[in-house]
């Protein structure tokens, strides 16, 4: 079993970096089994992102989301199926993650089926900054706890499954 834990976002666009910062914090503060590999600093989208998944059996992706449906700082557990995909690509920059996933599944035989997304609701980010907004910063510890708990749960399931 090899799990990839990915912190996704842009480290210079404020709250967009929340996924990166949470995964970095977990890497530096907590211990995780060797089968969890951490890729803490990924600023990619579309095919480039999905290609990183190759070779893992499970991916846990920690990213910012802006749905407007949840209070800021809420950690939402999502799966690819939760998203509606229009399957229409406007251009390279706007390649949809789920189209990329489907495409990569056709192209490669080592893309994991098991992909969990932990989305963290954030504020609108349109300004360059390497700091989180105060509102998200205040909730940072809670966010880390939520994400870490989820990871522990996943690890436990993996260990139990393997023992069985």
């Amino acid at each position: 079993m090899k799990i990839g834990l990915i912190g996704l976002g842009n480290p210079i666009v404020g709250d967009d970096a929340i996924g990166i910062k949470v995964v970095e914090y977990i890497r530096d503060t907590y211990s995780l089994p060797e089968f969890v590999e951490i890729i803490e600093d990924v600023s990619l989208a579309g095919i480039g992102l999905v290609e990183i998944f190759r070779g893992y059996e499970k991916i846990i992706l920690v990213d910012s989301i802006q749905t407007g449906k949840y209070p800021k700082g809420t950690v939402v557990h999502l799966q690819p199926d939760d998203f509606a995909s229009a399957l229409h690509i406007s251009d390279y920059h706007n390649m949809d993650f789920f189209t990329a996933l489907e495409f990569c599944n056709q192209m490669y035989d080592d893309i994991p089926k098991d992909i969990a997304i932990l989305g963290i609701e954030i504020f609108n980010v349109l300004e360059f900054s390497d700091e989180l907004t105060p509102e998200i910063q205040t909730k940072f510890d809670e966010i880390v706890d939520e994400v870490y708990k989820y990871i522990l749960q996943e690890i436990k399931e993996e260990i139990e499954t393997n023992v069985v």
Binding site: N10, V13, L44, D91, H93
Partner: protein, 491 residues
């Protein structure tokens, strides 16, 4: 009938970073069209006070799609700030990064976005009008495209240490060299890239050039615009992505109207501002701004693949030169004003990048250990302007620093900004053809999108890509800007 506003919202992100708005007049014909981009703000303030060498590591994050140009252009500025000319090996390795990135970017743009527009057409099954459709229709070509794109990625990782966020380029050179074995590896991959470049042009010839309907689409007025063209050129006015700092501009007849060192760019470019757009509209200062019209006395210019080929006198590699000549023969001469011709020019450039990569890989200088000239604070000149040809066109990074090398002032003009006015005009032209007397359909809307897609525009780059993509949305407003109808494209 009252005037209407039609908005095509093609963006993936929930907040919407770009959209197309088409304004109809009382007769239902197109009065105006806008391509609107929300730009990330505050870059100048963000880099202020930071050491210039740190800026080189920050700027690749500006864009999750084009990090390498944003590593190389500020590096050239940083060299000037330290008053240093990097050793030959460093220049070759940096050029490999630029070429690898162009191959990587052009392949994805052409095979995932341009080719489906050409060959899948409106009759394809819903949900297949994209790269998945190409994969199903032409599996061998798609597999080869993925393989060569993988090579380009590998080469970028070899030289840039990380394929995605390059870190090795530093003021005065590059922080690590490559081995002879790695150079041989690059050589092998470049040979395959050349073969793939030839295949791409053959595919284009078979599927597009030999198809009268598609050629007449390319040749239609909706997709033609006479403009000025800008590109970096080498000393013999040859195609060059990285090596030189000379920018050349030609007019719509192909005549040179300006040639300058990157440092002088502000003498040649001005920026027009519109209230409806966050993104500015650069234009040629000496010609002037006359609005969104394609006229010889309007200083609107274009960059990107076809603009580069329109500007250069030659390509110094034989196969790409031949492919370029053939393209102009079929398009009816040089310069070509065919907006969809940007896609064809990308294929010519993939071939060039493969050929040039091979030349570099065969040069023993590329694996020499003289890849860095040390720099010290005493050398600081305080200003530098780096210019390169990114896949989407000319990219300027301009920095001023204090004596400590800390940034006091910064200005970036990205390729899409250079093309901003032209994109708006191309969208308007296509809209005028596709929307008449208030009548339009999904195919017409897609053809409007094709116009802006041809430029491969680079939008604001916050990389959070969730929750997925918004369906294409058309908003219709009455003349008082009141929303009266929302149309969603069904897939």
């Amino acid at each position: 009938m009252s005037g209407k506003v039609v908005t095509i919202d093609p963006v993936t992100r929930l907040e919407g970073l770009a959209k197309i708005t088409v304004v109809l007049n009382d007769e239902g014909n197109v009065k105006d069209a806008y391509f609107q981009v929300v730009e990330l703000r505050g870059f100048e303030r963000f880099v202020q006070g930071r050491p210039i060498e740190e800026v080189l590591r920050i700027t690749p994050r500006i864009c999750g799609v084009c990090p390498i140009p944003h590593h190389l252009a500020p590096a050239k500025a940083a060299d000037q700030i330290y008053g240093i000319d990097p050793p030959k090996t460093a220049k070759l390795l940096r050029e490999i990064l630029a070429l690898g990135h162009n191959i990587h970017s052009h392949i994805l743009h052409f095979y995932a976005f341009a080719l489906p527009d050409f060959v899948l057409g409106e009759k394809t099954k819903p949900g297949t009008h994209n790269i998945l459709g190409i994969y199903q229709a032409f599996p061998e070509v798609a597999k080869e495209a993925i393989k060569i794109r993988g090579f380009a990625q590998k080469i970028q990782a070899m030289v840039g240490a990380k394929a995605t966020h390059p870190v090795t380029v530093i003021p005065g050179g590059i922080s690590k060299g490559i081995t002879q074995e790695q150079a041989e590896d690059i050589l092998k991959m470049s040979i395959e890239t050349i073969e793939f470049g030839k295949l791409g042009l053959k595919v284009f010839d078979d599927l597009v050039v030999k198809n009268d309907k598609l050629m007449s689409l390319i040749d239609s007025d909706a997709y033609k615009m006479e403009s000025y063209y800008m590109s970096v050129v080498g000393p013999d006015n040859e195609l060059d992505f990285y090596q030189h700092d000379t920018v050349k501009i030609v007019n719509s007849k192909g005549k040179e109207v300006a040639k300058y060192h990157a440092k002088e760019y502000l003498d040649y470019l001005s920026e027009h501002v519109e209230p409806w757009s966050y993104l500015k509209f650069p234009y040629l200062k000496k010609i002037g701004w006359k609005g969104f019209v394609a006229e010889p006395d309007n200083g609107l210019y274009r960059v990107n693949s076809l603009a580069r080929l329109n500007v250069v006198d030659k390509i110094k590699t034989p196969l790409a030169q031949e492919a370029m000549e053939n393209m102009y023969k079929i398009l009816g001469g040089k310069p070509s004003h065919h907006t969809l011709g940007f896609n064809w020019a990308r294929l010519v450039e993939i071939l060039y990048c493969g050929e040039r990569m091979k030349e570099i890989a065969e040069n023993p200088d590329v694996f020499s250990d003289k890849y860095r000239t040390p720099v010290t604070k005493s050398m600081i000149t305080g200003e530098g302007v780096g210019v390169i040809e990114a896949p989407r066109g000319t990219l300027y990074h301009h920095y001023k620093t204090n004596k400590e090398g800390r940034v006091t002032d910064a200005n970036i003009i990205v390729a899409t900004t250079n093309n901003n006015a032209a994109i708006c005009l191309s969208v308007k032209q296509a809209a005028q053809e596709m929307i008449q007397r208030g009548q339009y359909n999904d195919d017409g809307l897609n053809k409007i999108e094709m116009a802006f897609r041809a430029y491969d525009p680079c939008l604001a780059c916050a990389t959070h890509s969730l929750p997925g993509q918004m369906p294409l949305q058309v908003e219709i407003y009455d003349q008082n800007k009141k929303l009266i109808r929302i149309l969603k494209r069904k897939f």
